[in-house]
């Protein structure tokens, strides 16, 4: 455990000293705060506007950071040859990959916490303490689960391909994963072998739509981050889904990394 924690701590420290990540965070914070101005322009919908734009900012930038860090993580270790110093030490290759993943997740937790805090403060500046409710916390938790999968997918691709291709693949998985209900509807309309193929792809790819349920019908009720949002059981099983999917993808990344020659 100490070895995994050491790799995770070092990965977090690397991210904390990375200027590009700070730039992305500042962009996100700028977007969230700018929602305050947009709120002023809307009539009686200022709180809704700030919440929507703010959560969109957290979603967009957390996914960008997850893909950026995820695809560079293992590649940088190989390109900069730092892995030559680490792997001859008594650490298993899977421990190294898992430690890197934990480090990125710690970075994303910190980033989402900072963005969420700024969003909450922005909402409070507009509408007082009432403006911050449990739905906001649940929405942020779901976005964290979303990037848990995105990071694992990005790391999986980076275990065998370049950062550019890994980034493209991970972005593709994110876009399709977020549109799973639409893709399933398309598959149903298409029918035949093409429809079956598309349905198969939907089963294999992560259903990231689960993590942005606002506006969707869950049973008889349409949930909204501005009103009645998801309950504890929804949070529970989507969290289990995110952890389970990430575990499978990470296990594949570990298997590939385990067999690699570090020339």
């Amino acid at each position: 455990m100490r070895r995994i924690a050491a790799v995770a701590r070092n990965t977090f420290r690397e991210a904390a000293r990375n200027k590009i990540l700070y730039s992305l965070l500042f962009f996100a914070l700028g977007l969230i705060i700018s929602a305050l101005a947009l709120g002023q322009l809307s009539v009686h919908e200022d709180r809704r506007m700030i919440r929507d734009v703010g959560l969109f900012g957290v979603d967009l930038f957390s996914v960008l950071i997850a893909i950026f860090v995820g695809v560079n993580l293992l590649y940088k270790e190989l390109a900069l040859k730092t892995v030559y110093t680490i792997l001859p030490k008594p650490i298993a290759r899977w421990e190294f990959v898992f430690g890197k993943w934990l480090g990125v997740m710690a970075t994303l937790v910190a980033q989402i916490a900072i963005m969420g805090l700024v969003l909450a403060l922005t909402l409070m500046a507009q509408g007082g303490a009432d403006a911050v409710d449990a739905a906001l916390g649940k929405a942020l938790w779901l976005l964290l689960m979303n990037v848990t999968i995105v990071t694992s997918v990005a790391m999986f691709f980076s275990s065998f391909s370049s950062p550019f291709l890994s980034g493209l693949f991970a972005l593709g998985v994110f876009v399709v994963g977020r549109s799973i209900p639409d893709v399933r509807a398309l598959a149903q309309r298409m029918g035949g072998a093409g429809g079956q193929l598309l349905n198969g792809a939907c089963t294999l790819l992560p259903n990231l739509h689960l993590f942005t349920p606002s506006g969707s019908a869950l049973g008889a009720q349409t949930v909204s981050v501005h009103g009645a949002f998801v309950g504890a059981s929804y949070l529970g099983w989507t969290t289990a889904y995110a952890i389970g999917y990430s575990a499978v993808v990470l296990a594949c990344a570990m298997l590939i990394f385990r067999r690699r020659d570090f020339v």
Binding site: V7, R17, P90, A92, F262
Partner: protein, 325 residues
């Protein structure tokens, strides 16, 4: 091959204990679109004994780094096997007892030496207090106490090499493997590393290092393996590799008006003011000196030239490929 390679991790009183063994190690890469076959290492067998300083000598591209990476578990051999302290590579118990410095080491440049050594210590499962204690001691040992708070990106090549050795020693290993530790260093940097290797040898550690710098090997190693073209060409002590036979004798005289006649095969060497001649092997050196003294010349020096490590290295590296060693 000069040496007899002994077997077994622990041997009797007469045979030294083998701490590192390569058995017919081979690595073939398939490169490029057409999967071109490149045999980087073609069946290398040798062993390193406890407490010795072992030089792994070879020209660039000989297969030294690939062999060391196979020993460290960074590359999987296409054939053969390696053992460290009696355990197959890359066994974790064996890795606990090894320290490794890669060729041209690259470290996390955003870390300070203290942070980096702490990280290396944590990977060796050391508790925090022990890590701090060892990091302090090692920073002092490699002369980097003054730079303990400076990021590694601001380190010179020599300083990086020293912190690289320090990280290899964090786990207090019995066996230390260094890949080209002196390459790219200035003479003072090379001397520092050489002294450190000798100090480790005196402390009872087993050190194996690869290099193509011959004087470093001559000054530090108990035994040497010469590798070229992916094959092991020779292995043994320096004394066993170098022939004691005199190849030629260099005589320097303060000449008289009439210098003594040169024996057959002898030749004059360029010199400033003095008379320098090289007499071939088997020449009557005593006779030549007597003749010189008779003419009134004074003898300044007489130097027999025996086979050097460079002669052996050039001969082995240039030799046509034999069967796999």
């Amino acid at each position: 091959m000069t040496d007899g390679e002994s077997g077994g991790a622990v041997s009797g009183a007469s045979e030294p204990e083998v701490v590192l063994r390569a058995d017919d190690l081979a690595k073939t890469f398939h490169l490029g679109f057409f999967r071109k076959r490149v045999d980087a290492v073609r069946g290398v067998s040798f062993s390193v004994h406890r407490g010795e300083i072992f030089g792994f000598l070879g020209p660039n591209g000989a297969g030294k780094t690939t062999t060391l990476k196979m020993l460290m578990g960074l590359i999987f051999p296409s054939r053969g096997r390696a053992q460290i302290l009696g355990r197959p590579v890359p066994d974790r118990q064996a890795k606990r007892r090894i320290g490794y410095l890669p060729e041209t080491p690259y470290f996390y440049e955003y870390l300070t030496p203290e942070e980096f050594l702490d990280f290396a210590g944590a990977l060796c499962d050391l508790p925090a207090a022990e890590r701090r204690k060892r990091a302090d001691a090692l920073l002092a040992r490699v002369g980097l106490e003054h730079a303990r708070g400076r990021p590694l990106r601001k380190f010179s090549k020599g300083m990086l090499q020293r912190i690289g050795i320090a990280q290899a020693l964090m786990g207090d290993p019995e066996v230390i493997v260094l890949d080209e530790p002196m390459t790219g260093l200035d003479p003072l940097g090379r001397k520092d590393i050489r002294d450190l290797i000798l100090e480790l040898g005196r402390a009872g550690k087993t050190v194996m290092f690869s290099t193509h710098i011959l004087p470093d090997v001559e000054m530090t190693c108990d035994r040497v393996a010469i590798v070229a073209g992916g094959r092991l060409r020779s292995v043994g002590t320096l004394a066993s590799l170098l022939s004691p036979r005199v190849l030629s004798t260099e005589v320097v005289l303060r000449p008289s008006a009439t210098p003594p006649p040169l024996p057959a095969g002898g030749r004059r060497l360029p010199s400033d003011g003095a008379l320098a001649v090289e007499l071939p092997a088997g020449a009557d050196v005593d006779g030549y000196l007597r003749a010189a003294l008779d003419t009134g010349a004074a003898v300044v020096s007489v130097t027999p030239r025996r086979e050097s490590l460079e002669d052996v290295f050039v001969r082995e590296a240039a030799a046509p490929e034999g069967p796999a060693s």
